[in-house]
C-alpha cells in the first residue's frame, strides 16, 4: 500500500519537474572556473569545479577523457597543484614540455588520500607561457563499461549493485541513466555520493526526472547535464531528458554532439526513453512528434547504441534500427510481471561495436 501511495504521489510530482532550458543554459557556463588569477577552461565543460581539497582546486570529471586549458593572468601563481576527482586510477595527462614534467611525456596522477578516485598533478606554467593545455591520453581500443539506471529509494540496498559492479574485472567506468535520488534533496545527493565512493570506477552520469525537482541540484554536484565526450575512441553523449523532452538549447547541444560523433562509434544515454517499445504505457517523452524527431536525427547521425532508464525494468528493442536498451533496475520500485529484478548492463565495445549483456543483481 505504501508503495502504491508513493507511486501516486510521484506521478503527481512528475508534473513539477522544472523547465530544462535553464539547466541547458547553465551547462553552457559550467566547466569554467577562475582561481587566484588562473582560469580553468575544460573542453565541452567536462571538468566541473567542486569544493577545494587541502587548499587546492578540485575538479570533477564528467568523462574518463577530457582536455583542460589553464590561462594565467600576469600576477597569477605559476605553479599549482591540480586535483581531479572521478578519474580512473593511473590516469595520465599530457601537456607540453615543462608543464607536468621536463618533457611532454604523459604523467600519471598521484592518488590523493581521502579523496575517492582523486588524482593530483603538479602543474607549472613555464616562464613566458600564459596558457597551457592538459589532456588525457586517448587511445582507440576495445573496452567494457557498466550501465544502470534508477536508484531512487533503493539506495539502502545499493551495496548489492556495487558488489556486482566491483566484481566485473574488465569494466572501466559506469554510465548511470539518471534517477540517482528520489526527490532531489541535499541529503539524498549526499547519500548517493557516499554510495558512489564504494564503487571502484568513475561514474558517468545523466540526470533523471527525480533528480530535477530542484532544478540545479544535479549540476551543482556533478557538472553538466548535457555533454559529449570521447572515451577509448567511442563518443558518449549525455542528454538531459528529465522533463520528457529537450529544450531549445538541449536540441542545439545534441545536434552538435551528433555532428561531432558522425565518424565515430556513438553511444547516447539519457533518462526518459524517447519512445517505448510497446507504447501503451507512454512512459516516454511527452510528445511523440518530438520523440520521432529525436529518433530520426539520431539515426541519421549513425548512433550505435541508445541507453535509457526511467522504466524500472529491462527492455531491449530497436529505434529506427538503432539497438536500444531501457534499464532501470538499480533499486527503484521494481516493475512486476517482467521476469527480471535488479540488474545492471555490461557493455563490451569491440572494434567500435557495442554488445550489451545483462548482469542480474538479484538471482
Amino acid at each position: 500500500m505504501r508503495r502504491a501511495w508513493v507511486m501516486l504521489l510521484l506521478s503527481a510530482a512528475c508534473s513539477s519537474v522544472t523547465d530544462p532550458e535553464p539547466r541547458a543554459q547553465l551547462d553552457l557556463v559550467l566547466g569554467k572556473a577562475t582561481r587566484d588569477g588562473l582560469t580553468f577552461r575544460s573542453e565541452g565543460g567536462l571538468l566541473h569545479a567542486v569544493a577545494d581539497f587541502e587548499g587546492a582546486p578540485v575538479f570533477r570529471a564528467s568523462c574518463p577523457e577530457f582536455e583542460l586549458t589553464i590561462e594565467a593572468a600576469a600576477d597569477a601563481r605559476r605553479a599549482i597543484r591540480l586535483i581531479l576527482r572521478n578519474v580512473p586510477p593511473g590516469l595520465r595527462l599530457s601537456s607540453s614540455a615543462g608543464v607536468l614534467g621536463p618533457t611532454d611525456a604523459p604523467v600519471a596522477g598521484v592518488p590523493v588520500d581521502g579523496l575517492h578516485l582523486g588524482l593530483s598533478w603538479q602543474v607549472t606554467l613555464p616562464a613566458g607561457v600564459d596558457s597551457v593545455t592538459l589532456r588525457t591520453v586517448e587511445t582507440t581500443r576495445d573496452f567494457t563499461f557498466i550501465a544502470f539506471g534508477d536508484i531512487q529509494r533503493g539506495l539502502p540496498r545499493f551495496g548489492d549493485v556495487v558488489d556486482v559492479i566491483n566484481a566485473r574485472p574488465d569494466a572501466e567506468f559506469v554510465v548511470v541513466m539518471g534517477d540517482l535520488t528520489n526527490v532531489s534533496t541535499e541529503a539524498e545527493f549526499d547519500a548517493v555520493e557516499r554510495a558512489f565512493e564504494t564503487v571502484r570506477l568513475p561514474m558517468v552520469l545523466t540526470p533523471g526526472n527525480h533528480d530535477a525537482y530542484r532544478s540545479f541540484a544535479f549540476q551543482q554536484r556533478f557538472g553538466r547535464a548535457n555533454y559529449t565526450c570521447t572515451a577509448r575512441g567511442v563518443r558518449f553523449t549525455s542528454l538531459d531528458s528529465s522533463n520528457a523532452g529537450l529544450s531549445e538549447t538541449g536540441w542545439r547541444l545534441y545536434d552538435e554532439a551528433l555532428e561531432a560523433g558522425r565518424e565515430q562509434p556513438h553511444v547516447v544515454f539519457s533518462h526518459i526513453p524517447a519512445t517505448e517499445s510497446f507504447g501503451v504505457r507512454s512512459g516516454q517523452w511527452n510528445s511523440r512528434v518530438e520523440a520521432r524527431r529525436f529518433v530520426a536525427s539520431t539515426a541519421a547521425a549513425g548512433v550505435d547504441l541508445l541507453l535509457f532508464g526511467h522504466l524500472h525494468t529491462l527492455d531491449r528493442y530497436e529505434l529506427a534500427g538503432i539497438p536500444t536498451v531501457i534499464s532501470g533496475g538499480a533499486g527503484a520500485i521494481e516493475e512486476r510481471l517482467d521476469g527480471i529484478d535488479r540488474h545492471v548492463l555490461e557493455v563490451r565495445v569491440s572494434s567500435g561495436v557495442p554488445q550489451v549483456d545483462v548482469v542480474r543483481v538479484d538471482p
Binding site: 508503495r3 502504491a4 501511495w5 508513493v6 507511486m7 501516486l8 506521478s11 503527481a12 512528475c14 508534473s15 519537474v17 523547465d19 530544462p20 532550458e21 541547458a24 526526472n209 522533463n243 520528457a244 523532452g245 529544450s247 531549445e248 538549447t249 538541449g250 536540441w251 526518459i272 519512445t275 517505448e276 510497446f278 507504447g279 501503451v280 504505457r281 507512454s282 512512459g283 516516454q284 517523452w285 511527452n286 510528445s287 511523440r288 512528434v289 518530438e290 520521432r292 524527431r293 529518433v295 530520426a296 536525427s297 539515426a299 541519421a300 526511467h310 522504466l311 524500472h312 525494468t313 530497436e318 529505434l319 529506427a320 534500427g321 520500485i333 516493475e335 512486476r336 510481471l337 517482467d338
Partner: protein, 353 residues
C-alpha cells in the same frame, strides 16, 4: 496483448452506456420534482458538486437522486483510483498500464461529468428538452466545417503556430470526417480521413447519442526532421446526454472515447520503420451555460499532436474552453490545452443540424 486489449477496453466502455440504455428503455427516470434550491445554498453548491457529485441534489432536497449520484461518483472515483493503484502496485508494468489508464479515463471522466451535471442540474428549474440544449452541440450537428488556428508558446523553445481545416458529416447511424493541417516548424502537414458507425443507440429522442465505433487514418509529413507517420486510430465512443438520466441535467453531454492508435513511423535516413502502439482516448464534458454560450472540459490521453502530455509518462493533456454561438449557424470556439506545451486554439465553425 494487442488482441486482448481492445476487448478489455470495449467491455469497460460498454458497461456504463448499457446501464444507461437499460434505464432509458425501461422508462426509468431518476428525476424527482423538488423545491427550488434555497438561495442561501447557491454559492456553496458548485464546489460541493464538483468535489462530491450529488451533494447539490441533496441540498436541493432530492435525496434519491443525490444519493444515487453520490454512490455512483464514489464508484467512479474508486475505479480511477483502482486503475492508479493497479499500476502502482505492479511498478507501472506494461501489462497494468494497459488497464490502468482506461479505468482512470472512465472513472475520472465519469466523476467530472457527474460533478458538472450536478452543478448544472442544481440550478436548472426543471425538465429541459434535450434538442434545445444540443442544437448546436458539436456532436449533434449533421454538417460541420471550419478552421482552427493554434499557438503554443513553449518555454525554452520557439513557439509553434498552425492551422487546421476540418469537415464532417454525421447521420443518425454513420459519420465521416476529414481534416488537414500543419504546424509551422514542427510538421509539414497532415491529413486525416475517418468514418464511424453507431453500434448502440441510447434513445430515439437523441439520435446522435449512443455508442459508436470510429476509425480513421492519419498521415503526417515531417520531412524537415526526417520522418513521416501513418496512424490508424480505432476508438469506441460513447455520447451520453445526461438528460437521458435526469431531464434537468439535459444541458450536459458526456463524450467518452477509448481505443488504440497503432502507428507506423518511417525514418528516412535508415529507411527503417518504427511501430508504436499507444492507447488513445479521453473524455469531454460539454454543457450549455446560456442560449449562446457553452463550456467544455476534457482530457486527451494521446500525445501525438502538437500538444504532448502534461506529465512524465502515463498522463496526457487536459483542456477547457468556451463556444459562442454566432449568427448564421456559426460557432466561435476557444480552448486552452494544458499539456507540453501549453497551447491555445481558436476555431470558427459552421454547423448545421
Amino acid at each position: 496483448m494487442p488482441g486482448v486489449l481492445p476487448r478489455v477496453v470495449g467491455l469497460l466502455v460498454l458497461s456504463l452506456p448499457l446501464a444507461v440504455r437499460a434505464q432509458a428503455d425501461a422508462g426509468v427516470s431518476l428525476e424527482v420534482e423538488s423545491a427550488p434550491l434555497a438561495p442561501g445554498f447557491a454559492p456553496l453548491t458548485v464546489p460541493l458538486s464538483l468535489l462530491a457529485p450529488g451533494s447539490g441534489q441533496l441540498l436541493r432536497g432530492d435525496r434519491s437522486l443525490g444519493g444515487a449520484m453520490l454512490g455512483t461518483s464514489a464508484g467512479l472515483l474508486g475505479l480511477a483510483f483502482g486503475g492508479a493503484f493497479f499500476m502502482a502496485g505492479t511498478g507501472a508494468s506494461d501489462v497494468s498500464t494497459a488497464i490502468g489508464p482506461p479505468l482512470g479515463i472512465i472513472g475520472l471522466g465519469g466523476f467530472i461529468t457527474l460533478g458538472l451535471a450536478d452543478a448544472v442540474g442544481t440550478y436548472s428549474g426543471g425538465s429541459e428538452p434535450i434538442p434545445s440544449e444540443t442544437a448546436w452541440d458539436a456532436w449533434n450537428a449533421t454538417w460541420r466545417g471550419g478552421v482552427t488556428a493554434l499557438v503554443a508558446p513553449r518555454a525554452g523553445q520557439p513557439g509553434s503556430a498552425g492551422v487546421t481545416a476540418f469537415g464532417s458529416f454525421r447521420s443518425s447511424r454513420f459519420l465521416a470526417s476529414v481534416e488537414a493541417g500543419n504546424v509551422a516548424g514542427t510538421l509539414d502537414g497532415w491529413v486525416v480521413g475517418g468514418g464511424g458507425v453507431k453500434l448502440l443507440g441510447y434513445s430515439a429522442e437523441a439520435p446522435r447519442a449512443g455508442l459508436w465505433l470510429e476509425t480513421s487514418l492519419r498521415h503526417e509529413w515531417a520531412g524537415r526532421v526526417g520522418f513521416d507517420a501513418t496512424r490508424w486510430r480505432t476508438q469506441v465512443v460513447s455520447v451520453l446526454p445526461m438528460g437521458l438520466l435526469v431531464p434537468r441535467m439535459g444541458r450536459v453531454t458526456s463524450v467518452l472515447r477509448l481505443g488504440l492508435d497503432p502507428t507506423w513511423v518511417r525514418y528516412r535516413e535508415r529507411a527503417a520503420t518504427g511501430f508504436e502502439l499507444p492507447l488513445s482516448g479521453g473524455f469531454e464534458v460539454r454543457t450549455g451555460l446560456t442560449d449562446w454560450l457553452r463550456g467544455h472540459v476534457g482530457y486527451e490521453h494521446s500525445r501525438d499532436g502538437l500538444v504532448g502530455g502534461s506529465s512524465i509518462g502515463f498522463l496526457g493533456s487536459f483542456h477547457a474552453g468556451l463556444e459562442v454561438a454566432l449568427p448564421g449557424d456559426l460557432v466561435w470556439d476557444v480552448r486552452v490545452v494544458t499539456g507540453t506545451p501549453l497551447a491555445f486554439f481558436t476555431s470558427i465553425e459552421w454547423r448545421r443540424r
